[in-house]
């Protein structure tokens, strides 16, 4: 005779509050880490908005790229191609080529995120910008648990979103009348330097950055967009060849 058990739901109980809840200290650390980056990307967001206002694309559709694409360089690329009357396919191809480097970020994060719940692995990529990748990989070496890293990543990512989307709208509105005084746009390369320098420990890491930079410029001047990707892959390959493999 079959025994019907009513215990199944209990034994398969999933702690949803535990999996969805954010850790307070991780949120605070994430916000503290992302704060200077927010200050740096704000002018970038306004500049993207100004480019939208300046283009032939309608203001609303141009702004829509901020929440939908959520990537400054790919957004600008799409608007630029559409703005000069380029085809839809060209705009799409350029935007994706510019963003192709994020597939490498995805590969680098796939193992650290492998124990994360599926909802997080579906949501996290939406926020995956260069700066967040750099911050997250920096924190992953600290031996934190999954919930901490999830809270940290989401806090920083959502903070960027809350700044970026309204700031692009602001740029659409006020971009054309902005004064050209303080070279605030120099914050972008400066922030990349700030994220890069702590990662340059040892010769393989240093070589990765130098080779990637050189190849990126060499390729980027002939084939726009994919220079980042090919440069980055070249740098990673050279560094791997230098480190001599597992000992």
């Amino acid at each position: 005779m079959a025994i019907i058990s009513f215990d199944v739901p209990q034994t398969q109980h999933i702690d949803w509050t535990g999996r969805l809840a954010l850790r307070g200290d991780a949120v605070r650390t994430g916000l503290r880490d992302i704060a200077p980056i927010l200050a740096g990307i704000f002018p970038g967001a306004v500049a993207v908005g100004a480019a939208v206002a300046d283009s032939q694309v309608s203001n609303f559709v141009g702004w829509l790229g901020a929440p939908v694409i959520f990537a400054g360089s790919a957004h600008i690329a799409a608007i630029s191609v559409l703005g000069v009357g380029g085809s839809a396919l060209a705009a799409l191809g350029t935007a994706l080529a510019v963003n192709s480097r994020t597939a490498v970020y995805s590969a680098a994060l796939s193992r650290p995120f492998s124990a994360q719940p599926l909802w997080f692995r579906l949501l996290a990529p939406y926020f995956l910008i260069d700066q967040l990748f750099a911050l997250a990989t920096g924190r992953m070496t600290e031996g934190r648990d999954e919930a901490w890293l999830r809270s940290y990543y989401l806090a920083a990512g959502i903070a960027v979103w809350l700044l970026w989307v309204p700031a692009v709208a602001l740029g659409v509105g006020i971009g054309p009348v902005l004064p050209r005084g303080v070279p605030i746009d120099f914050a972008l390369p400066a922030l990349v330097v700030g994220l890069l320098v702590p990662a340059l420990r040892g010769r393989p890491n240093l070589s990765a950055a130098v080779v990637a930079a050189a190849v990126s410029v060499a390729i980027g001047s002939t084939v726009p967009g994919v220079g980042f990707l090919i440069g980055g892959l070249a740098g990673m390959g050279v560094a791997m060849a230098m480190d001599g493999g597992p000992r």
């Binding site: 799409l92 700030g194 990126s216 980042f228």
Partner: protein
């Protein structure tokens, strides 16, 4: 195809690129060589990005590079000494602005 559809497709494509490995390869064990390769993603991709961003600021005349290089050196020194992003950005912007004005002053004198 309307511009709005292009924007939406670019958004979907961007998510797909970012999600590619995180969503679809997360449970697969990767060869150790791939792990070693990916361990260098941060310095390599940021190096490529920095070079790409700097390249867009160059308009072909070597002398106009002086403020950029000065700002970049300031950023590297500040990042190395302080490990603080706010100090890094602030130092770079100040040095860049001063160098730009100094260069403009020298050009007026000549």
């Amino acid at each position: 195809v309307s511009d709005a559809i292009v924007i939406v497709l670019a958004g979907l494509g961007t998510w797909a690129l970012r999600a590619s490995f995180i969503v679809f390869a997360a449970q697969r064990a990767m060869p150790s060589a791939v792990d070693r390769f990916l361990a260098y993603a941060r310095p390599a991709m940021l190096g490529a990005l920095l070079a790409g961003v700097m390249a867009t600021r160059v308009d072909g005349v070597a002398v106009t590079l002086v403020p950029e290089l000065a700002g970049l050196v300031a950023a590297v020194l500040a990042a190395w000494r302080t490990r603080n992003l706010a100090w890094t950005a602030a130092s770079a912007i100040v040095v860049f602005a001063v160098a730009e004005r100094a260069l403009a002053g020298i050009e007026r004198l000549l």
